[in-house]
Symmetry: C2
Subunit: 283 residues, 2 copies
Amino acid sequence: MNKIYIIGVGLIGGSMALDIKSINKQAKIFGIDTNASHLDEAIKLNIIDEKATYDDLEAADLVVLSIPVDKAVSELPKVLDRISDTTLVIDVGSTKYPVCKAIEQHEKRRNFLATHPIAGTEFSGPKAAIHSLFQKKTNIICEVEKTTFKLQEKALQLFSDLGMRIRYMNPEAHDKHIAYVSHLSHISSFMLGKTVIEKEKNERDIFDMAGSGFESTVRLAKSSPVMWTPIFKQNKDNVIETLDEYITNLKQFKAFMETDNFDEIFNEMQNTNHIKDILNGIQ
Amino acid sequence: MNKIYIIGVGLIGGSMALDIKSINKQAKIFGIDTNASHLDEAIKLNIIDEKATYDDLEAADLVVLSIPVDKAVSELPKVLDRISDTTLVIDVGSTKYPVCKAIEQHEKRRNFLATHPIAGTEFSGPKAAIHSLFQKKTNIICEVEKTTFKLQEKALQLFSDLGMRIRYMNPEAHDKHIAYVSHLSHISSFMLGKTVIEKEKNERDIFDMAGSGFESTVRLAKSSPVMWTPIFKQNKDNVIETLDEYITNLKQFKAFMETDNFDEIFNEMQNTNHIKDILNGIQ
């Protein structure tokens, strides 16, 4: 695949472009973005070779759709309308059911592969793009059977070249489970940041007391609202379920404290401590 | 200060011992610990030079009390009973009001300085001790005026040698504010870990989908319940207040989602985004 079109040259699309260029010296990377300054920046940073438009997509070997999930749902059909029979289109969004649903009846459905690379940082835009972002990361692929076999093969080769391991899931299961290990973490982090910022308004210098533990738990509160609002909207029911369970657990912890049941407080923490072993598996 | 006694040779006490040895080649480090295997380990790791007991404390130039905060409250008076007039005793616990209260009438009150180095990792025990842990970290000192001037000077020289910057607070303000930037982060992390582990029991392979964002937000859930239970107990009222505010913010976020008020979801995140600038000040 030599003609690569990146729609949305931000953290994920940009990082993928950088790696593809390293892997395949013949590859030519075209960038499409509604944000003109991002395109200029991406050229300066040597992430893309040229700007392009949807009208150029017929020439594409690969199209990477890396834009907020609400835009992905509306743009993907237009992209599929314009590609050739041999073009592979992948998306990289954090929700999978809505995007799969949006094109289930499209005549080019078999040119599309729904993916979710579990990779990223709290930063966004072309400047956030980095080399080797996908190395040793998991890529979740949904509805693989709906993509034509030849294009599946090309996609798997690409992900292998990027250093990723593959997991297959259906879109519903993906959206349900990712709510726990990704979407809820973002909300817990945002609300922790909010709680402390609100306090700081009245009582100065709180942040002067903050250490690396606080920094770690609120890191995700730096994430982009433009990216995350549509994720929460599209995955509303699952996210509300995780929030319910999280709030219930916090209330129970508080109730144990209020009744001086510190044996249970100890148990709560000890029972969760084995997250150590679980996290050892994550890189 | 050449004769240094570390009571509790874990992450904080052990790391301090390592740095003191680097700074002062004349220093001899003695370890006191109820856990005999920790003492043996600390000798093997070259953190302490010799084991000691409370009966040896009269010879001490410096005593570092680095044990769980409930133990600190009961042990500190016994330590002060045994030291000489020129011994400096510091504690390093995450709560300051109870320990200051416990010895306010002690005849050796002026030999004691209450401190809280905002430094650490989620690990514990002598193996967790590392060099330069305190470099560029904040050390909060409480009731500095109650320590004799000569011993204040010695303590400040030590903290300066360790690379720390100093902030002065009263114990009540310390305990109130640290609840926000440290204690609440630990609870949010533990409960996030619990919520996901509970889900995993019924639906396997969730953790296979977790990335670095999840890892970051649950890092503190690896922390020691032996250390943290007494912190929550001693700082009960302040911690409950922070939990109340955190739960209220989470419920409001959930309510916005339930009523499809995604403009407010966007605002909540955008308003918290400036945590970026705040965190830039933390190292």
